[in-house]
Structures are given as structure tokens and as C-alpha cells.
């Protein structure tokens, strides 16, 4: 079943979070570099501030009820007392604010007269303070994408969160190196269209930001939250989309999932299911399941857990019903309980299974006084968590009649989405009183006007002209993570820019597609390789081989890779002798074919000298030798 996005009224809003390449963090002088290893750690417990407890916010209440211990890891140079929340924040980084203002000007957005720093509550531990510092820099404006004008909602400057480095149930671990790295958040007005047209919007915005040369590059430096909705559905927020090719898949998946949920809702309505009756009856069924030959059941019981069964009237065959492959309410419930650190959830449509027998199913049905039209859901775990989870399951099943619930989902690397948490209420913000407000004066704006980046097209054209690249290659190198290093190499060596650009784009991309680790190719390593090529120490053909050796972790340094590949260049004299030997060995062919023996000889020579000498040079030398012989 394929879906037409237009008939569903697909709407997608983007919120782009782009890390800036500033010399220091947003509120202190620490470096934005990622830490290689951590030296120290401390633990904290966050608690919601009082007024939060007054309002019913299931996510916050649950997080609090877990009273999670958060363990923070610090590294010298990349975090200080500020990140540890042991010192008040310093003044906002001028460089970061300037960059946010430049983006605002580039997007024709209206800069605030006075910028106020706010605290946005986040109590999942990703901020040591319990809030994220953020400021609204500009609002309104637009971005032109392939003839369409996309509205800008707001441009904010904020601090990045700490990096999750581990989550053993009960203890969440974060690295503080990323905390406080400046991020510009740009929210766009929702757009309609086909998923790949929508992707163009994100691509265009990303290019505009990169054109400023003021943003960080590489994996994780740009993250996209995507709000997806279809007709008659609520807005679903998908967090953490890191790559554009993932984006199209995610939009398609969400479209299908949301439409699937609407189809299920229609069926429930046809059946006249009264969802208010869901969860009217919840029973402890630990004794019934206790006899099951199920690993999951055993594990939960061994951990002192119990099982609660929820009666779901009228839902028989609906929890497992799949309007699209793999899209069913049952799967949503499975992810929902993960939020409560549980993994034991079963529903009647999938039973008997998992070591739970037909007799046990019947026993649960009778305990719940359920009829043939009814379904049930069983959730197992420690008492308090099972209670929270069963409340959440009841709410989710009740919401099924409305189709798509508003929630926050996480993007998976394969382009799907999973439930992350209930959608938070309106952002809870209050002023960050430790930092004075910042006036954004007209003179400040005027001074930045000439720093507004040129358009992507202009930049690509000038790149193409400057380095004599074709436009495709110029755009590829611009979109890649290697523009900076490319320009350095082009300035530093005599290697042809076209060659450098194609190695840094097509070749690296194809190695990456083979699943190799691209992160080992640092700018330093890349420069080293091309410097060696420039000096004649390696041949052109070796570049790719060295990339591969390093990405496969078969070599730690460029020199090791050269050795491992046997790629060190040989001298002209040695090559000359070697080619003479090859011709001697194949004299019969030469005599028989004359000049046409070239291809045979070339094959033999390349087998021996690939990566040690330049192919064109070998070709020329053999040709020369042949001509002399044949004459």
C-alpha cells in the first residue's frame, strides 16, 4: 500500500540544531573539542522545582519518582566548574552570539532588541543544572528553497546538552565535554510536499549554515528534530535525526505509521469501542504467570517483580492488527514500557507464546472477567514501575481511538521512529538571572551585515572557478565534511585539486558505504597523506589504499598504512629496471604482438607496482620501451 502525501495532508516542521565552531563554549572558556578520555566523575540527583510538582506532568513525575542518580564525567580542558554547576555561567560568548545574529540576518529574521537568557527545564540529567540555557535571538524571516518560500519561526542560541555515555538501569552517565557547546536552533514553519521535497528544505538550510564557515562539521554536529503530522492526527516530534538520507525514510515511516494508527482508530470506531472502559479492571496475575515456562517471566519474578493484567474491552485482535507491516498498537506498547525501564509486556493477540500457555491465557481472561471481544495487556516488573507503566498503557490504549497521540519519538539509524516519552507540556522557562540581558544594537547588526554568508550557489561557483573543479565536484566537496582540509591541501601542495576533491568525496563515501569507520580520517591524517603524495613518497593509486587500511583499523598511522599496503614509492631507476625485466620475461608476446603487447605488459607491471608508482608514468615508460624494441 503506497500513500500519497498530498491526500494525507502531510506537514513537516523542522527544528535544526547546529553546533557552532566557536573557540570556546557558550558560557565559559572551555574548548568545544570532544574529550578523548575522562579523568574525574561526580554524582548528582536532580529534583523538579516545586511548581512542577503542582502541575500534572507524567514525564516529569516519573523521572522524579525514579530519583535517578546521574553520574557526570569530566575531562581537563573540555569542562570546568561551570559545566559541573559549581560556578555561575560567564558572559555569553561574543563569537557565538555574533554567529547567531549573522544567521538571523541571512534568514531575513527580525533580531530582538534585547536578548534575554532563559532557563528551560530539563530534568533527564543531560544538564547538570537541571535546565538548558537558551535565548531567543530573532523571529520571523524566510528561506527560499527551489522557488518556494519557507517561513522561519525563530532563531535561538542555546547550550548543547551533556553526552549520554551510558545508562545502566538506575544510573545514567554523561560526559560533560559536549555540555555548553553553542548551538543555534532554527525552527521553520511546517511545510507540505513529498518527503524528498521536504528534505530539500533541510538540505538548503544546512548549506546556508555551512556557507558561513562558522559551524561545526561531522557526525552529530547538526541534529534535526522533525515535527510530522497528517490530517486528523496530532503532531509527533521526532528527535535526533543526524543525517539527511535518514530524514526521507523517517518522514515516510511516520506517514505510514500515523496513517496506520488512524486506520486502527477508524476500526475501533466502527466497532463502537468505549475506550473509557479500558483499565476499569486491572488484576494482579503474578500467581497465574508464575507457572509459565517463560524466560522473561522468570527474570521478572526473580527480580521480585509482579504482573498486572489490564482488561481492554472491545480490542480483541486490534492490539496485534497491522494496517502496514510492523505497525501495530502492540509494538507501541512495547516501546512505551521501555520508558519505565520495563521490558515485560504481553498482549492477548500474541498469546499463547513466549512460554505462556493457552490455559494461562484462559485463566487471565477469567480473572479479568473478559469476554471474547476483549483483549488484555500484561505488564511485569517491580511494583511501582509496573503501576506507572500500566497507567501509561491505559492512557495509550484510550488514545488509540483518536489515532495519533502527540508524543516525542526518537529516530533510529535505519530510518524508523520509536516512542521516547510523552510530549512535554509547554516549555517551562524562567529567566537565567545570573547573566544580564544583552542589547542587540543597530550598530552591532550593521557591523555584521558584510559577514552574512553568500548563497550556496555562489559559493559552489566560486569554488569551482578557484580550483578548476566541475560544479558537481565543487558541490560535493562543499557538502562534505572535508571542505576545510581540501582548501588547505589545495593551497599547500601541487596535487591537482580535482584529484584531491574526488578522493575526499567519492572515494571516502564509497569506503563509508562499505561500513568502514570514517572518523579515523582526521584532517591531520588526510593532510599527511597528500603531503606524501606531493613529495612523491607515494603514488596516486595509494591514496585510496591508505584510506582503506586506516579505516579498517589495520594501521594506526599513515606510515604504518603505507608499510602495510606495500605502497612506498619506488625510485625511477628501480622502476626502469623492473619494467625491463617484465618486458624480458614477456619477450614472446612482444615479438608476436608488437605495440599491442602494451596492455599485457601494463597488466603485469601494475600487478607489481600498483600503489608504488604512478600508473600513467608506468604506461608512458613501457610505451617508450616498446617503441624502441619494435622499431
Amino acid at each position: 500500500m503506497t500513500i500519497d502525501p498530498a491526500s494525507l495532508e502531510l506537514k513537516v516542521g523542522f527544528e535544526i540544531h547546529q553546533q557552532l565552531a566557536t573557540r570556546s563554549k557558550l558560557f565559559c572558556s572551555c574548548s568545544c573539542e570532544e574529550a578523548q578520555k575522562y579523568d574525574r566523575s561526580f554524582v548528582r540527583k536532580l529534583r523538579p522545582t516545586q511548581s512542577e510538582l503542582g502541575a500534572y506532568d507524567p514525564a516529569a513525575m516519573f523521572e522524579f519518582s525514579k530519583m535517578r542518580t546521574v553520574e557526570y564525567h569530566t575531562a581537563f580542558g573540555s569542562s570546568c566548574l561551570v559545566e559541573a554547576d559549581e560556578e555561575p555561567p560567564h558572559d555569553v560568548s561574543k563569537e557565538a552570539l555574533e554567529t547567531a545574529l549573522i544567521f538571523s540576518l541571512a534568514l531575513h529574521s527580525k533580531v530582538m532588541d534585547e536578548v534575554h537568557i532563559m532557563r528551560k527545564l530539563v530534568i533527564d540529567g543531560s544538564n547538570t543544572t537541571g535546565f538548558q540555557r537558551t535565548m531567543l535571538v530573532a523571529s520571523g524571516g524566510y528561506l527560499d528553497v527551489a522557488g518556494k518560500r519557507v517561513g522561519v519561526q525563530s532563531i535561538c542560541l542555546e547550550e548543547d546538552a551533556a553526552k549520554l555515555i551510558g545508562d545502566d538501569k538506575g544510573i545514567r552517565k554523561f560526559g560533560l565535554d559536549r555540555l555548553g557547546v553553542p548551538l543555534v536552533e532554527i525552527a521553520l514553519e511546517p511545510v507540505t510536499g513529498k518527503p524528498d521535497e521536504i528534505m530539500q528544505v533541510a538540505l538548503t538550510l544546512g548549506r546556508l549554515l555551512r556557507a558561513s564557515k562558522r559551524v561545526a562539521r561531522g557526525l552529530g554536529s547538526i541534529r534535526q528534530d522533525v515535527n510530522v503530522s497528517v490530517q486528523n492526527g496530532a503532531v509527533v516530534e521526532v528527535k535526533g535525526v543526524q543525517q539527511l538520507d535518514q530524514l526521507v525514510k523517517i518522514i515516510e515511516h511516520e506517514m505510514q505509521r500515523q496513517h496506520g494508527l488512524i486506520v486502527i482508530a477508524e476500526k475501533l470506531k466502527e466497532r463502537k469501542v468505549d475506550v473509557s472502559k479500558v483499565g476499569e479492571r486491572i488484576e494482579d496475575v503474578t500467581d497465574i504467570l508464575g507457572k509459565a515456562q517463560s524466560k522473561i517471566v522468570k527474570k521478572i519474578l526473580d527480580g521480585g517483580g509482579l504482573f498486572r493484567a489490564i482488561r481492554v474491552p472491545g480490542f480483541a485482535a486490534m492490539i496485534g492488527f497491522e494496517p502496514y507491516p510492523d505497525i501495530r498498537i502492540g509494538k507501541e506498547l512495547g516501546k512505551l514500557v521501555r520508558f519505565y525501564d520495563l521490558d515485560g509486556v504481553f498482549h492477548s493477540d500474541e498469546l499463547p507464546n513466549y512460554g505462556i500457555t493457552q490455559q494461562q491465557v484462559a485463566a487471565v481472561m477469567s480473572r479479568l472477567q473478559a469476554s471474547g471481544n476483549d483483549a488484555f495487556v500484561i505488564v511485569g516488573g517491580p511494583e511501582d514501575k509496573a503501576k506507572f507503566a500500566s497507567d501509561a498503557i491505559v492512557r495509550r490504549l484510550q488514545a488509540a481511538i483518536n489515532g495519533v497521540p502527540a508524543e516525542t519519538r526518537a529516530a533510529t539509524p535505519d530510518g524508523k521512529t520509536v516512542f521516547l516519552r510523552p510530549r512535554p507540556g509547554p516549555a517551562r522557562m524562567y529567566p537565567e538571572t545570573d547573566i544580564p540581558t544583552i542589547p542587540a544594537t543597530d550598530s552591532m547588526r550593521k557591523a555584521l551585515a558584510d559577514k552574512v554568508p553568500r548563497s550556496w550557489d555562489e559559493i559552489v561557483d566560486s569554488l569551482a572557478k578557484k580550483y578548476n573543479l566541475n560544479k558537481k565536484l565543487a558541490s560535493q566537496i562543499f557538502d562534505s565534511d572535508y571542505l576545510g582540509v581540501f582548501e588547505e591541501i589545495a593551497g599547500m601542495t601541487k596535487v591537482r585539486p580535482t584529484f584531491v576533491a574526488s578522493k575526499l568525496t567519492e572515494d571516502i563515501t564509497s569506503l563509508q558505504r562499505q561500513g568502514l569507520d570514517v572518523s579515523v580520517l582526521t584532517d591531520g591524517i588526510i593532510k599527511d597523506i597528500f603531503a606524501k603524495l606531493d613529495a612523491g613518497a607515494i603514488a596516486k593509486e595509494s591514496v585510496n589504499i591508505i584510506f582503506e587500511k586506516m579505516m579498517k583499523n589495520e594501521a594506526k598511522t599513515v606510515d604504518e598504512a603505507i608499510k602495510a599496503a606495500g605502497a612506498s614509492s619506488i625510485g625511477d631507476e628501480e622502476l626502469d629496471k623492473g619494467l625491463d625485466r617484465i618486458i624480458d620475461d614477456n619477450m614472446a608476446v612482444v615479438k608476436e604482438k608488437g605495440m599491442s603487447a602494451l596492455s599485457t605488459l601494463m597488466g603485469r607491471a601494475m600487478a607489481e607496482y600498483r600503489g608504488k608508482s604512478d600508473g600513467q608514468k608506468i604506461n608512458a615508460m613501457i610505451k617508450d620501451k616498446l617503441q624502441k624494441l619494435v622499431k
Binding site: V43, R47, S51, R428
Partner: protein, 438 residues
């Protein structure tokens, strides 16, 4: 608009708001050259520029609009009082120990009004319990607001007020302990003051504060208050203590003896340290872990309270430094001070240029005491010539008494004894260490 609800606005901004009849909390629509913005009018901090009007937008962000660019302000809706969050009902169980909580300033618990961004102290018992619900497991808290001052504004007369209030609670007899919540900047001065003013305490009196304000989820206030309460309820020992984070983690709090503690960091949670001693106790997970210590603590109910709560503030604390002008001593003497605490170098020295001024002061009947700016360690004025000369002039060494503690003690001694010089050299409340552990 009345002065008291100007919301911090002054000048042109205030005139504009007054003209339109708009006050803080009202929903407004503001038109400027670039279009319109709607939001709730926010208060302005007194120190902020008077050229802007602050509003909270629907997105939750605050922003400032230049008054000069405003074409019109329209009031959309009058300020609505935020509905107060229902305080959770705590059923008080008779079994729990009663603890008196005296608050003097600083907010150990607070509420945030997300609509206006305002932070309010949460000081009633029910507010405290809903802020730190676990408190109810350990004690039945009896709160009372005595003062509402930043601790840098506290004076010796406030120490008297606090001491009298604590004495009242102690004499009441029903409390297992007293907690004094206090701004951290001068908490150690107040701790020393209470240590001298309230000798023979039969129960623990615990000062507690927060280095991170309680309006943030990461505040140290809750843990400090919680474990301070556990210490007040469970400690076998009596006396005056300061209870604050033991390190950067939300794990243990350290209990310091009131005369041996100092704020040694501007901002860290573990800013308070015991000088020349280890903290007498750590409290974590509801358990009081007494530490090995040279300090002799009185047992609960071992003594009877002797309250002498007066202070004489005619005491000066002078820190010596290279280039120190001896005339500062002359001025101090002339200004009517009765005692000078010198913070000398090393083992207790000042330059020989100060000798004549010191001699003049001593001869005029002013007591001059020597402490060390090294913070850690004892003064010993018989080791070098300078020290011996100073002793000859009549300076009185104060062993390893912390200079701040010495200043407070001198104020107390002058107000409560005819022989302050003698009292200063006696160990009354562990302010002098018999031996300092390695």
C-alpha cells in the same frame, strides 16, 4: 501606577506603561515598526537598562523591546493570579522527632511561577514538605521565619536575635534539634557567634544553606536540609554545627564544628571546610557517620544551656600585607575600637614598621590579638625575632583560632566578660585545637 508595582520599570518605560494602564502580569500586544508581538509584561530587574520593556512570549521566551520603537501597547487581558499548586497534605505522625527550623534568609526552598518567572521563598511547613517530600520521613518540622536577609547584611545584632530565638526553642524542651537556614556568605561567622553565645547546648543546632539557589533542579539545598535534619534528629552529640555538601556529589554532607569552619570557595557546593580538623560527621542515606576527630563534643543533654547573647562590635579585623601602612592601626585605635585581630603572616608576624603603632595601641588599652593569614595551622611567636618583639609589645597570640572566629569571639568576650584578654585565650567551643592531625 503605584510605586510598589512599577515592576522595576523606570524612566520612559515606566511612563509609557503608566499611560497605557498596563502593569506586570498583563497580557499585551505591542506594535513596533517591524510588526507586532504579544506576550505577558514581565518585571524588570532594577539594575537592567530602563530603555526596554520585557515581555514573555507564548513560546516561553522573554525578550526586551526598545521603548523608542514602540508605537502602541494594547492590554489584552488583566493579570491572572497563578493558581497556587496545592500543597501536599502531610499527615504528621507523632512518632517523628520534632525539629525547629529558623530561617534567617537565603531560600532553602522556593517555588517558581513559570508565568512570570518569579521566584518565591517556600517557607511554611507544607511548602517545605512539598519541596522536599522526604523531610517528612525523618522529622516533624516546625518552621519559623526570623529574618529575611542576605547574609552579607547580617550584623552582630542579628546574631543576638538568632541566638535568642535558638535559646527559646532549646528551652521549649520539645525539640530534638534546631536548624538555622542561613545565606552562605557569612554562615561561618554566625556559627561561631552561636557557639560562644549558646554554651552548654543540650541539643544540636545545625546551620544549613545552599550554594546553588533552590529555584533550580540541581540545588544543593534539598540534600543539605535533608541530611542536616537527619543529623539534628539522630546525632548523639550537641553543639553548633554547619552542615553542607562534603564534595561535588549529591551524596554526603559534612558536619563541621561551628568555630572550626570556613567558607573556602566562592561557588562550589563543598565550599565549607573544617580548618585544622576533619568534619566531625558525614551524613548520607539517613545515616550519621561520626568521623575520627581530635575535637571533643558534648553529648546530648550532658550540659545546661548558658545563653549570653550580647556582642560588642568594636572589634576590627586587619589583614597584614607587604606595604601595610601602620597608620591603619592608628586610625583603628583612634576610631574607638576596643580590640584588633591581626591576620599576620606565617607564624604570626607583621613588619617592624608596625611596632610603634602597635605599641601605641596596646598602651592605649586596646587588645591586639594575632592570628595567621595562612588559614591552616597555629601561630607561634617565639620562633623568630619578630614574633618575640611583638610579644614584648603586648600582642596576644591566638593559637590556631581562625581569624574570623577570633573576631566574633572578641566581640562576644568584650560584651560578656570583664577579662576579655583571658577569655580569648581559653578554649570555650573548640575554637582552639589541642593537637592538629597530620
Amino acid at each position: 501606577m503605584a510605586k510598589q508595582d512599577s515592576g522595576g520599570y523606570r524612566g520612559a518605560a515606566l511612563r509609557l506603561l503608566a499611560k497605557q494602564g498596563v502593569s506586570v502580569g498583563d497580557s499585551v500586544r505591542i506594535a513596533t515598526e517591524d510588526g507586532e508581538m504579544s506576550g505577558v509584561l514581565m518585571p524588570r530587574y532594577e539594575s537592567a537598562s530602563e530603555d526596554y520593556i520585557s515581555i514573555k512570549l507564548k513560546s516561553g521566551y522573554n525578550t526586551g523591546i526598545l521603548v523608542g520603537r514602540i508605537k502602541s501597547i494594547t492590554k489584552l487581558q488583566k493579570s491572572e493570579r497563578a493558581k497556587a499548586a496545592k500543597a501536599s497534605e502531610i499527615t504528621e505522625s507523632e512518632g517523628r522527632p520534632k525539629i525547629a527550623l529558623i530561617s534567617t534568609g537565603g531560600t532553602i526552598a522556593s517555588k517558581i511561577d513559570y508565568r512570570t518567572g518569579g521566584v518565591h521563598a517556600a517557607l511554611s511547613a507544607s511548602e517545605l514538605y512539598s519541596s522536599v517530600p522526604e523531610l517528612a520521613n525523618h522529622a516533624s518540622i516546625d518552621p519559623e521565619v526570623l529574618l529575611s536577609e542576605y547574609s552579607e547584611n547580617l550584623k552582630p545584632e542579628h546574631w543576638t536575635m538568632i541566638a535568642d530565638k535558638v535559646a527559646e526553642k532549646v528551652k521549649n524542651g520539645k525539640y530534638r534539634g534546631v536548624i538555622v537556614s542561613h545565606g552562605t556568605d557569612t554562615m561561618h561567622y554566625t556559627a561561631a557567634a552561636l557557639s560562644f553565645a549558646l554554651q552548654g547546648l543540650p541539643i544540636p543546632v545545625v546551620l544549613v544553606g545552599a550554594q546553588r539557589s533552590s529555584d533550580r533542579p540541581s540545588s544543593d539545598a534539598a540534600l543539605n536540609l535533608l541530611w542536616a535534619t537527619v543529623f539534628a534528629a539522630k546525632s548523639k552529640y550537641a553543639g553548633v554545627f554547619v552542615a553542607m555538601h562534603a564534595d561535588a556529589s549529591d551524596d554526603a554532607i559534612a558536619c563541621h564544628v561551628g568555630t572550626r569552619v570556613r567558607k573556602n570557595h566562592t561557588s562550589r557546593r563543598d565550599a565549607f571546610e573544617s580548618i585544622d580538623a576533619t568534619p566531625v560527621a558525614l551524613v548520607r542515606n539517613n545515616v550519621v557517620e561520626m568521623q575520627k576527630s581530635e575535637i571533643k563534643l558534648a553529648k546530648r543533654s550532658e550540659n545546661n544551656l548558658v545563653a549570653k547573647t550580647k556582642f560588642d562590635d568594636r572589634v576590627a579585623l586587619l589583614k597584614y600585607y607587604p606595604g601595610f601602612d601602620p597608620r591603619l592601626i592608628d586610625h583603628t585605635a583612634k576610631a574607638g575600637y576596643r580590640a584588633i585581630i591581626l591576620e599576620g603572616t606565617g607564624l604570626g608576624h607583621v613588619s617592624k614598621e608596625c611596632f610603634p603603632a602597635l605599641k601605641k595601641a596596646v598602651d592605649a588599652g586596646i587588645m591586639v590579638f594575632m592570628t595567621s593569614q595562612c588559614i591552616w595551622g597555629r601561630v607561634r611567636m617565639t620562633v623568630y625575632d619578630t614574633g618575640r618583639d611583638l610579644l614584648d609589645i603586648g600582642l596576644i597570640p591566638l593559637s590556631d583560632m581562625i581569624s574570623e572566629t577570633a573576631t566574633v569571639k572578641a566581640m562576644w568576650a568584650l560584651a560578656n566578660s570583664d577579662d576579655a584578654k583571658k577569655v580569648m585565650q581559653e578554649n570555650l567551643a573548640n575554637e582552639i585545637s589541642a593537637s592538629i592531625p597530620l
